[in-house]
């Protein structure tokens, strides 16, 4: 069915037929070489070729290239075609260049000149060819040459919809290549208003706005309300309204998806009308899924569901509409049983995200049975993988035993590709939700039994760490590993765990004659010869530990250590251990031996290396939690840069620096969805870490102040003049009552007389399981103070008394009010405060990218008024405020001058009270 249309190149068709008829590779090469020689002679010949022939030969060269042969000539002829007036000749020229010319070609200057001519041509088809070529090549050179031209076409009043579509995406490509190619703010308003265009060509424009919004969110935030109205018009239209853009009875599905994705760049709109309209759209989309389908074709349901899944992503992004979240979850629940594999897969994937929201987590858990069933019955491994992910995400205290059991059962027949990840997940869940450490030990040992090869070092190290740190698990662990080692074929990882645990705690089961010291030793040693050198080395350490634990079998063990197999082993490590252990056991006294070989001390609670490993395997995972110095940190982040730089710092064991980094990222950009929760029993020792996180409250008045396994403390403050009101919310996270609960603000000597505190509403002395109680405190600032008062919490859980000391987010800047003033007033006051004691100045490295808008927001959050049109240099930030205390009012002026080249700031604060200037300066210097 060779095309018989007018532009067909007969010679090309014949050539292609010839190639297809070649019976062998050799015949094909021969035919190609003949053609190449022919074309070369035509190009070199005396006769000038007409446009048609040139086009035909260039096209043949392209075909030869696409077959996989090198082409080293014809480029110049292709460039010549660009200056032809005929569309078909131009098109082949541009195609050859897009496919074949590398961006560093000598011809690039010539090509760019031709593109310049075509881009300003009155013929839209020529303009489009040029734009497509720019977009296809997309080099830095192209960005530099056309970064300023293309936006003009995009907003031009004369350009056709087709040209605008191409211009939008061409520009998108140039920006991705070279983000500085375009001045964003300048075009923002006109680009945003493309969303109002009555033509429906907007999918392309929306993609562009999406990328611009990611790069420069402030400039493009105006797109939110326009995108909402556009979306609203589409979802409420009938399928006949949009004619050309209705696809299988679904109005503009791709544009809807793009708009829904664009809206995920921004927080939920604050304006009630816009927000209301958006919620309506999302409801309408959910409603449509309940309507009977307008067509039985899969295209109809696919495009409808493409919109639905994107709407659900947006609902999850908003995460504050419980009704929508639950409805989304119910809709996905229906899909879990759908006959289409695609839908089951996508429903599992999407539900995984819903499991992370507090509003829909419970609704997700209702589908546990179905998901477990999917794990057992799905034919496609990727669907089963999603089922595993979802089970992991929905796991909690109440269902962990069942979920872990199902995952273990599945692990036996799971695909090799996902076994290691599953092992990590089972290990994490069983540790996280272990209420009973016998269950934990059983689970990990079973893990080694069914998937020993996939149990990484991190996993078996972890079980040993936990057993060592938990007195109540040790006897059981020793008994269980002993039983497991009796299996005729047991995995080497089991030997490692068994060797280590018996070496530490074998004495706990030695009373039973079935596991007497000698039986234990013989059992372990029966595995010795089948193991790799690293395991043998571990076992030698177990043996020397046995000599200390069980002096009665010392001669037997010494025999083994002194055997030539050990002493003359080719492996240096084994040889050395055998020699040293043997000497240690023969020449030292029992006391020395006991000291050297005493039970291992508890491991410091560090990060779970398993979690770090899982995180590495799955960069997309949303939640990470780890333990550092006994402090549990949960990071919820969609920003991989932050989490990965955090992890790399922590892995280099500079935990302190990692914390600082995380905290900086947190306060720097409130739009980053990072939540740090810190959980600890022993707070006082971790003050340095908590201090970093506490500082967040310098800029905000509400949030989670503290959380551990038992209790969550939320705070909400209001300040007016010298008065403050602090609301504290204590939530009991356990199922049991917390008793003898008391919360008290304590003022240290540095705050005595400077702050008055009165409790307005006492919390009750008991908090029922799952309940939340409130505590309100009124404050008055009498005079200036530094630091913050403490809040002491005491309570009893399962009759164990607990005590926590927190810092209240009551900081001097909370009593500051901004003062607006003009340039004249500001500088005259500035001069009045000119004495050296009234000024503090600091020069420091910028800790964040220098951004005037961000600094302004921060200053306002701090309580000052950020003044505009005051400083002659617009890069400088000036602010003013008054600290209001009962006894005095302290005026403060601030000036922040960036040096962009050096990435430095100079911060100057002047105040009628010198200490205030010094205090504010020191509080702020870390934050810019």
């Amino acid at each position: 069915t060779v095309s018989s249309r007018g532009d067909a190149m007969r010679g090309l068709a014949v050539f292609i037929s010839d190639i297809r008829n070649c019976k062998s590779k050799e015949a094909e090469s021969k035919r190609i070489n003949k053609e190449l020689a022919n074309i070369r002679s035509k190009f070199k010949g005396d006769k000038t070729l007409d446009g048609y022939s040139k086009k035909k030969y260039v096209c043949k060269l392209l075909f030869i290239f696409l077959l996989g042969h090198d082409i080293d000539f014809g480029h110049m002829e292709a460039v010549n075609l660009l200056s032809s007036n005929k569309y078909t000749e131009k098109q082949i020229g541009y195609l050859f260049i897009s496919v074949l010319v590398s961006s560093n070609s000598d011809l690039m200057k010539l090509i760019i000149q031709n593109i310049k001519n075509d881009i300003s041509s009155p013929k839209p088809v020529h303009v489009n060819l040029a734009l497509h070529c720019i977009a296809n090549i997309g080099s830095v050179e192209m960005s530099e040459a056309f970064g300023q031209e293309v936006p003009k076409l995009l907003v031009s009043a004369h350009a056709s919809a087709s040209v605008k579509q191409s211009a939008a995406l061409c520009l998108l490509r140039l920006i991705r290549t070279l983000p500085e190619a375009m001045t964003y703010a300048e075009w923002a308003s006109r680009v945003i208003h493309l969303l109002n265009d009555q033509h429906m060509w907007l999918t392309a424009a929306t993609s562009l706005i999406h990328t611009l919004s990611q790069l420069s969110p402030g400039d493009y935030k105006g797109c939110v309300s326009l995108a909402v109205s556009r979306l609203s018009r589409i979802v409420t239209s009938t399928y006949t309204d949009l004619q050309d853009y209705t696809y299988y009875f679904v109005p503009a599905p791709w544009l809807s998806v793009k708009l829904l994705r664009l809206l995920q760049c921004y927080p939920v709109p604050e304006e009630p009308a816009v927000r209301g309209r958006l919620v309506e759209c999302l409801e309408t989309i959910l409603n449509k899924c309940q309507e009977p389908p307008k067509s039985k074709k899969v295209q109809h349901s696919n495009s409808k569901n493409a919109v639905l899944f994107e709407a659900i992503n947006l609902i999850i992004h908003i995460d504050s509409e419980p009704n929508l979240l639950v409805r989304a979850c119910n809709q996905l629940g229906q899909f879990l049983q759908h006959r289409e594999t695609n839908l089951r897969y996508l429903a599992l994937e999407s539900m995984c995200l819903l499991a992370g929201s507090e509003f829909s987590a419970d609704a997700v858990k209702k589908h546990r049975e179905t998901v477990i069933n999917a794990l057992k019955t799905e034919r496609d491994v990727s669907v089963r993988q999603r089922a595993v992910d979802l089970l992991y995400a929905m796991c909690d205290k109440t269902n962990s035993e069942e979920i872990v059991a199902e995952m273990l059962a599945y692990l036996k027949k799971a695909d090799y590709a996902i076994r290691e990840e599953m092992v990590l997940k089972v290990a994490i869940l069983s540790e996280k939700y272990a209420s009973d450490y016998t269950w934990y030990v059983d689970t990990i040992l079973k893990l080694i039994r069914v998937a020993g090869d996939y149990v990484s070092e991190e996993v078996w190290h972890r079980v040993i760490q936990i057993v060592i740190n938990r007195d109540d698990a040790q006897g059981y662990a020793a008994k269980t590993v002993f039983e497991n080692l009796q299996a005729p074929a047991c995995h080497e990882n089991m030997v490692k765990v068994g060797g280590y645990i018996l070496g530490e705690f074998g004495n706990l089961i030695a009373g039973d004659e079935r596991s007497s010291p000698l039986v234990q030793f013989n059992l372990l040693h029966s595995k010795f010869h089948l193991c790799t050198p690293s395991t043998r080395a571990l076992l030698l350490s177990t043996y020397i530990k046995f000599i200390n634990l069980f002096p009665e079998i010392k001669p037997t063990i010494q025999n083994v250590l002194q055997n030539n197999n050990q002493l003359r082993n080719a492996d240096v490590e084994l040889q050395q251990r055998a020699l040293e252990y043997s000497q240690l056991s023969s020449i030292t006294s029992q006391d020395v031996l006991a000291t050297v070989l005493e039970e291992m001390p508890p491991f410091p609670e560090r990060e779970s290396s398993i979690l770090a490993k899982l995180k590495k395997k799955k960069p997309a995972s949303v939640q990470v939690s780890l333990r550092i110095f006994g402090v549990k940190i949960v990071i919820l982040s969609t920003n991989d840069n932050v989490t990965s730089s955090f992890f790399s710092t922590v892995n280099n064991s500079n935990i302190e620096a990692g914390m600082v980094q995380l905290y900086l990222a947190y306060i720097q950009c409130c739009f980053l969805p990072i939540i740090i929760e810190l959980l600890s029993k022993d707070l006082d020792n971790k003050n340095n870490i908590f201090a970093h996180c506490f500082l967040v409250f310098m800029f905000k008045n509400s949030g989670v102040l503290f959380e551990n396994a038992l209790i969550q403390v939320g705070v909400k403050c209001e300040f007016k003049e010298q008065y403050g009101r602090v609301g504290l919310f204590f939530g009991n996270k356990t199922g049991n009552q917390l008793q003898n609960f008391a919360a008290a603000v304590s003022l240290g000597p540095e705050h005595q007389g400077k702050i008055n505190v009165a409790t307005q509403k006492e919390p009750p002395s008991q908090i029922d399981g799952g309940a939340q109680v409130q505590h309100f405190i009124n404050l008055e600032c009498i005079s200036m103070f530094s630091g913050s008062p403490n809040l002491q919490l005491r309570y009893q859980h399962s009759s164990a008394p607990q005590q926590v000391t927190l810092k209240l987010p009551v900081i001097i800047n909370k009593f500051m009010e901004g003062v607006d003033m003009n340039s004249g007033d500001f500088f005259s006051r500035w001069k009045q405060l000119g004495q050296p004691t009234q000024e503090t100045q600091k020069i420091f490295q910028a800790r964040h990218p220098i951004d005037t808008e961000a600094a302004r927001t921060k200053l306002t959050g701090f309580g000052m008024c950020a003044l505009t049109n005051v400083d002659p240099n617009p890069e400088n930030l000036v602010g003013s405020g008054i600290i209001k205390t009962k006894t005095s009012q302290i005026g403060c002026l601030l000036r922040l001058e960036p040096n962009k080249q050096a990435k430095m700031y100079r911060l100057t604060v002047r105040s009628s009270v010198g200490e205030a200037a010094a205090l504010i300066c020191s509080m702020l210097e870390e934050h810019f």
Partner: protein
């Protein structure tokens, strides 16, 4: 940051012969050849009971089989699967109308026109035009130009 875009579009037959390769990212020639072979290996082992999506390196392939041809779009993992699955079908319907019941041979003999169809519907790794009517109108207009 998270860029969501099409990384490449491939049309391959069951034997692994490439009928169209459109790249929206810079790859060198060896890498392109590797990608082509890997994609073929990944999609041809799947059957009708499998999903139309498959993880691929750090991306995913959304694909659909039409007779002996596999149409594959490589996108980012967080991209909308069904939207791209239907974008493939939309593209196939346009090819079908433009070539009057398209078959593999049409793509071979008219390879240079297939590029034009692609550029009308996808550009710079994004969906450009989705209306079949508009695309066909434009293609017929171009067809009639000299």
């Amino acid at each position: 940051s998270c860029i969501n875009m099409i990384r490449f579009i491939l049309i391959q037959n069951r034997a692994g012969k490439t009928r169209l390769a459109k790249w929206y990212m810079q790859f060198d020639d060896d890498e392109k050849q590797k990608l082509i072979e890997e994609v073929h290996a990944v999609v041809t082992v799947r059957d009708a009971k499998h999903t139309n999506f498959v993880e691929f390196r750090n991306f995913k392939i959304v694909y659909r089989r039409y007779a002996g041809l596999y149409f594959c779009i490589c996108v980012d993992v967080t991209d909308n699967n069904l939207a791209y699955l239907e974008a493939i079908h939309n593209f196939v319907e346009v090819l079908n109308e433009y070539f009057h019941n398209v078959c593999e041979l049409d793509l071979v003999f008219n390879f240079y026109k297939v590029y034009t169809v692609v550029d009308e519907m996808f550009l710079a790794g994004e969906i450009r035009e989705t209306s079949q009517t508009k695309v066909i109108q434009q293609l017929l207009m171009l067809q009639n130009l000299e």
